[in-house]
């Protein structure tokens, strides 16, 4: 029988999982906080709460048969909360002078940091040590705040409150101001005679080496990985970041350009046409899936007014 040429999951061989197992898997995709909130709702019927509790316990206990092809595919394509644990150690390590530099920028910003950011607990951690790891946590909290606002129900009382849109705008501005020194670094492509040289320049902006191990230097790679990480872990937060990225792309074209370069590197890597010089660095990108990253990138771009498909 003819199979559509547009069907791209050719390795998929169907599943015999029961509907109940599938529902557990769907619940596994949802934000854990939302599930806990629902369970914590006192008005909810006790019988339903018990059913939900059982279901969530099942999910937590990892009752899923992770050896099945279907689950492997889920994990491969994202959303599995455990997927990235322990990966991307690059977030953990960066040169102290970068942390200090970021701290100085933060001090310069002073009171101009939006109040809603300053009110977050993770902001204190970030201001005491402005590392990329703490920055990642701060962004998570900011996005969580945005999601909470978006989840206001039918008769919202948020007219006088901060809107989600405002949160996105302000956080994009905050990220840009915080990374001003990185964004201002000039890149001179005039003397570049090949793609290879362009790659070298972009990679030098984003990474530094310590004993052959690349350390994170720049904003673009951090955002690139962060997008993928959120896409896999928490779609609710991801949607906010997607919109924030659109603003960053719009206002800092260099980040937009660097994303394209990362995608090109991944593409060359996949095709096996990358020069040996860059192979080491691209190993970091190999944790990401080109197809998915391209889709994420396209989704971010689609928010920018005036950028067509």
């Amino acid at each position: 029988m003819r199979k559509s040429k547009y069907y791209d999951n050719s390795s998929y061989e169907g599943t015999d999982d029961s509907a109940e197992q599938n529902v557990v898997k769907v619940f596994n995709l949802f934000n854990r906080k939302q599930l806990d909130n629902l369970l914590g709702c006192e008005d909810l019927d006790a019988h339903l709460r018990n059913r939900l509790q059982t279901l969530i316990n099942n999910t937590k206990l990892g009752d899923l048969n992770i050896n099945s092809k279907e689950d492997k595919m889920t994990i491969e394509q994202g959303y599995h909360p455990d997927m990235f644990q322990g990966d991307f150690r690059i977030f953990e390590k960066e040169k102290p002078f970068r942390i200090n530099q970021r701290g100085i920028e933060l001090e310069k910003l002073g009171d101009s940091v939006p109040i809603f950011i300053r009110e977050l607990n993770s902001f204190n951690t970030f201001s005491s040590e402005a590392s990329i790891k703490n920055f990642s946590m701060l962004l998570n909290d900011i996005f969580q705040k945005g999601v909470t606002l978006a989840n206001q129900t039918y008769s919202p009382t948020m007219i006088d409150q901060l809107s989600q849109d405002q949160i996105i705008q302000d956080s994009a501005k905050f990220v840009l101001l915080l990374s001003e020194d990185f964004l201002k670094q000039p890149i001179l492509f005039a003397d570049c005679k090949s793609f290879d040289q362009i790659f070298s320049k972009i990679l030098a902006r984003n990474f530094d080496y310590e004993n052959e191990y690349p350390l994170l230097m720049g904003l673009s790679y951090f955002l690139f990985v962060k997008l993928s990480k959120l896409f896999s872990e928490n779609l609710n937060l991801y949607y906010i970041m997607e919109k924030m990225m659109a603003i960053i792309f719009d206002q800092a074209p260099i980040v937009h350009f660097e994303f394209v370069i990362f995608l090109s590197l991944m593409k060359f890597y996949e095709e096996g046409t990358l020069t040996n010089k860059h192979k080491g660095i691209v190993n970091i990108l190999s944790d990401l899936k080109l197809e998915r990253m391209s889709e994420i990138f396209y989704r971010c771009c689609s928010h920018i007014v005036g950028v067509s498909q």
Partner: protein
């Protein structure tokens, strides 16, 4: 000739989109009968010149059959529809499979129609070691033009489509209720009547075809707002059950594809965000989900 055939397909789809059953209007019923009479007479020509048009015709027919079969009516119209369905199934079976998951969903209600048992039996057959309906649940045969997202439009009158786009892109969550009620009035939707059947496919349309708008307005309407409102609007018990099936159909048949999150999210947010104000609705949905998954 190709251009003419494209036009013919467009015209057929336009007529199909305007076909839905209403309680009162006999004119409407006459129009439906006349239309399918023409299709029945010209089906061989359409199959030869414009085979892609047969897929939306097939989908419309099986949806109409399932709606009328609920009331156990065997009318001339139903016989005509059955004849068209059989013809298309025999001649353009592979194209029909592009309906994917929507075909399986529609067939859930066709178990009650003995004349269509041959379809159900074939869906249970194995191809390459996998049952056909399982392949369909994974939309294996969909193509860019013929895919469930586009074909669901056949069930949605153009006004609903246009106005839903307006609501998602330009209305605010403070007034979208009024827009929705007005829209339903314009289409002739009345509570506790057969017209509520449109809302079942409308729910599918919201889930699989529509996207949340990205215009960044703070008060923008999300898909779950619309789903909550539509579900509140449904009064007939039969259609409420079918609506719940439509909401959770993807949950039960989750294939592991990350893109399916789009289908789960609005239903999930409807449950989550209605828990305070419309607790009964959230409970009803959760209760149904547990039962449906068990069955």
């Amino acid at each position: 000739m190709d251009v003419c055939m494209d036009k013919l397909e467009g015209i057929i789809v336009y007529f199909l989109r305007n076909i839905y059953l209403t309680e009162k209007s006999s004119d409407n019923y006459l129009f439906i009968e006349m239309f399918f009479d023409v299709i029945s007479k010209k089906k061989s020509l359409i199959s030869e010149k414009c085979p892609d048009a047969l897929v939306p015709i097939f989908f419309k027919c099986i949806r109409l059959i399932s709606i009328t079969s609920i009331f156990r009516e065997t009318s001339d119209l139903q016989l005509q529809l059955l004849e068209i369905v059989k013809f298309i199934w025999i001649n353009q079976k592979e194209k029909i499979f592009s309906l994917g998951r929507e075909l399986v969903r529609a067939c859930q209600e066709l178990f009650k129609v003995p004349e269509l048992n041959f379809m159900i039996e074939e869906l249970n057959c194995e191809y390459d070691g996998i049952k056909l309906y399982k392949k369909l649940l994974n939309n294996e045969y969909s193509e860019p033009k013929l895919n469930p997202q586009n074909l669901i439009l056949v069930q949605i009158p153009p006004l609903l489509d246009q106005y839903s786009n307006y609501i998602l892109n330009s209305a605010s969550k403070f007034n979208f209720n009024r827009h929705l009620v007005w829209m339903m009035k314009r289409v002739g939707l009345e509570k506790n009547t057969i017209t509520e059947s449109i809302l079942i496919d409308y729910i599918r349309y919201i889930l699989i075809k529509m996207d949340d708008s990205t215009n960044g307005e703070p008060d923008k309407v999300y898909r779950w707002h619309i789903l909550g409102c539509v579900f509140k609007h449904l009064k007939s018990e039969i259609y409420r059950t079918l609506a719940k099936q439509a909401l959770f159909f993807d949950w039960l048949n989750y294939s592991g594809c990350s893109r399916e999150y789009k289908y789960f999210e609005p239903t999930w947010l409807t449950i989550l965000n209605s828990i305070n104000k419309y607790r009964e609705m959230s409970e009803e949905l959760l209760d149904f989900l547990f039962l449906y998954a068990k069955e």
